[in-house]
């Protein structure tokens, strides 16, 4: 299987609903990450009448804890084009896909890392020709593996049988579903996505996912469909569980609630809808010091499609490389533990309210 074949498949895919197009296709100025950072910096952000920056509010450098999660972003290729995507992923994003030699370097690094979990993301990582190789290798090294999945990708003809394959290897599915009902999900991801997502959940349930088996864990990831913060995770989980079971007969194991990050397409939407300033100000007002200890950047290494290293997937999408500019081919875990974490204004997204990270709320 080659990337070219995948791209052709996606071009002919008439079943996956799409919410829009990539910023790249639209020729948006926000394709430039420097422009995104400038846009964030241009907003007048105040707290108690004084201009604030993330570092000053934090009161010092953000330092790492122990490395636990090795996160690999296989690239920006995706079958969907959700309106809030911080990756600017889509079917036209074959320009950013992890090359073979980098996949090999990633596998070698996983063999040596002290991290106990490997977290695979994208785009839709399942579209990468080496997706299964990477998982086989990580499972072979005894790692707990997570697939960050958009659900609809599991229904593509080329992925027939993938759910069972993942189940046999005990891969956790961390699936994005903005809301447990149709309107907000479709508003964000495209008309008809909710129904396709439920169909994918049925496949997962049939393979034993989402039924309380720790070897077949199905985690759902929710994010708000607009310029507001997420609901309380524990309360939302109860409501989601009842409603999805009652209305659609599907089950899951746990729910993560994330905030939307003012990056790429969500940043574009904030600008176009006139919500940018108020949303950033809301994040600042909701800054919660108790969210900091559990932030993902403190225990996660983020590897980009080209092998460059980052503190998190959000920094990756803003080209904010890890201190010292390391590459996976010369990854040094001691250097990782000794560094300070690179921060900017988008970081307010992870520290707002109950906190927000790859593992859900942090406070």
């Amino acid at each position: 299987m080659t990337i070219r074949a995948v791209v052709e498949d996606l071009a002919n895919d008439r079943k996956t609903p799409r919410a829009g197009t990539s910023l790249r296709r639209r020729g948006s100025p926000l394709v430039s990450t420097a422009e995104q950072l400038r846009t964030l910096d241009a907003v007048q952000l105040e707290r108690e009448g004084r201009r604030v920056e993330f570092d000053t509010l934090l009161g010092g450098a953000l330092r790492p804890a122990r490395l636990e999660i090795f996160q690999v972003n296989l690239g920006k290729l995706c079958n969907m084009t959700c309106r809030h995507c911080h990756v600017d992923a889509g079917p036209d994003r074959w320009d950013c896909v992890m090359p073979d030699e980098i996949v090999d370097q990633v596998i070698a690094a996983i063999g040596k890392t002290c991290a106990h979990a490997v977290d695979i993301t994208g785009g839709a990582p399942e579209l990468h020709p080496r997706f299964r190789d990477l998982i086989e290798a990580a499972v072979g090294f005894g790692k707990q593996v997570m697939d960050r999945c958009n659900l609809t990708v599991l229904l593509l003809p080329r992925n027939k049988g993938l759910v069972d394959w993942l189940a046999e290897r005990g891969v956790e599915i961390v699936a994005s579903l903005p809301h447990y009902r149709r309107p907000n999900t479709d508003a964000q991801r495209g008309q008809g996505v909710f129904e396709r997502s439920v169909e994918a959940m049925r496949l997962l349930n049939a393979a034993g996912y989402g039924r309380g088996d720790p070897k077949r864990r199905l985690t759902l990831v929710s994010n708000p469909a607009g310029a507001f913060l997420g609901a309380s995770q524990a309360t939302a989980e109860r409501e989601w569980r009842q409603s999805l079971q009652r209305e659609h007969g599907v089950t899951f194991d746990r729910l993560f609630v994330l905030n939307n990050m003012p990056i790429a397409r969500f940043l574009d939407w904030l600008q176009q809808s006139g919500n940018l300033e108020a949303y950033l100000q809301k994040l600042v007002q909701a800054f919660n010091p108790a969210s900091v200890a559990g932030l993902m950047c403190r225990n996660t290494l983020s590897v980009g499609w080209d092998g460059r290293l980052y503190d998190c997937d959000f920094n990756q999408m803003l080209d904010l490389e890890i201190e010292g500019g390391l590459h996976i081919s010369d990854f040094d875990e001691d250097a990782w533990h000794a560094r300070s974490i690179v921060t900017a204004r988008h970081c307010f997204g992870c520290t707002a309210g109950a906190g927000s990270s790859c593992g859900g709320q942090t406070a």
Partner: protein, 110 residues
């Protein structure tokens, strides 16, 4: 003051406790407890508040609880259904008085 309603009053609501602070504190503490998760979820309470806000036609409450419902994970369909509960009760309250009308009219009429 330019008019009877000012958006800033919502943001400044807490200042009402600058006077009679003990009563203010009691009110806001109580208010916070009312909206916490309990036998009803915070989302359900927020939807009730949205419905009541429309019944009492308080623009501050409508703004506050529209936003709060969204943050609690309610979608526009759910919020609109809550509003129709207000409409049904308000409409029903008028209509049920029609029984008084009928009784009076029937008593006097031939």
């Amino acid at each position: 003051m330019p008019g009877y309603y000012d958006r800033q009053h919502l943001a400044d609501f807490g200042k009402i406790a600058d006077t009679s602070p003990e009563l203010g504190k009691k009110f806001f503490d109580y208010y916070g407890s009312v909206f916490a998760d309990g036998a009803l979820s915070a989302r359900e309470k927020s939807l009730i508040a949205l419905a009541v806000a429309h019944a009492v036609q308080c623009p501050y409450c409508i703004e506050a609880y529209t936003k709060d419902c969204q943050e609690k994970g309610a979608d526009l369909e759910q919020m609109t259904e809550a509003l129709h509960v207000t409409v049904a009760i308000r409409g029903g309250a008028s209509l049920v008085h029609g029984m008084q009308m009928r009784e009076t009219a029937q008593k006097l009429g031939m």
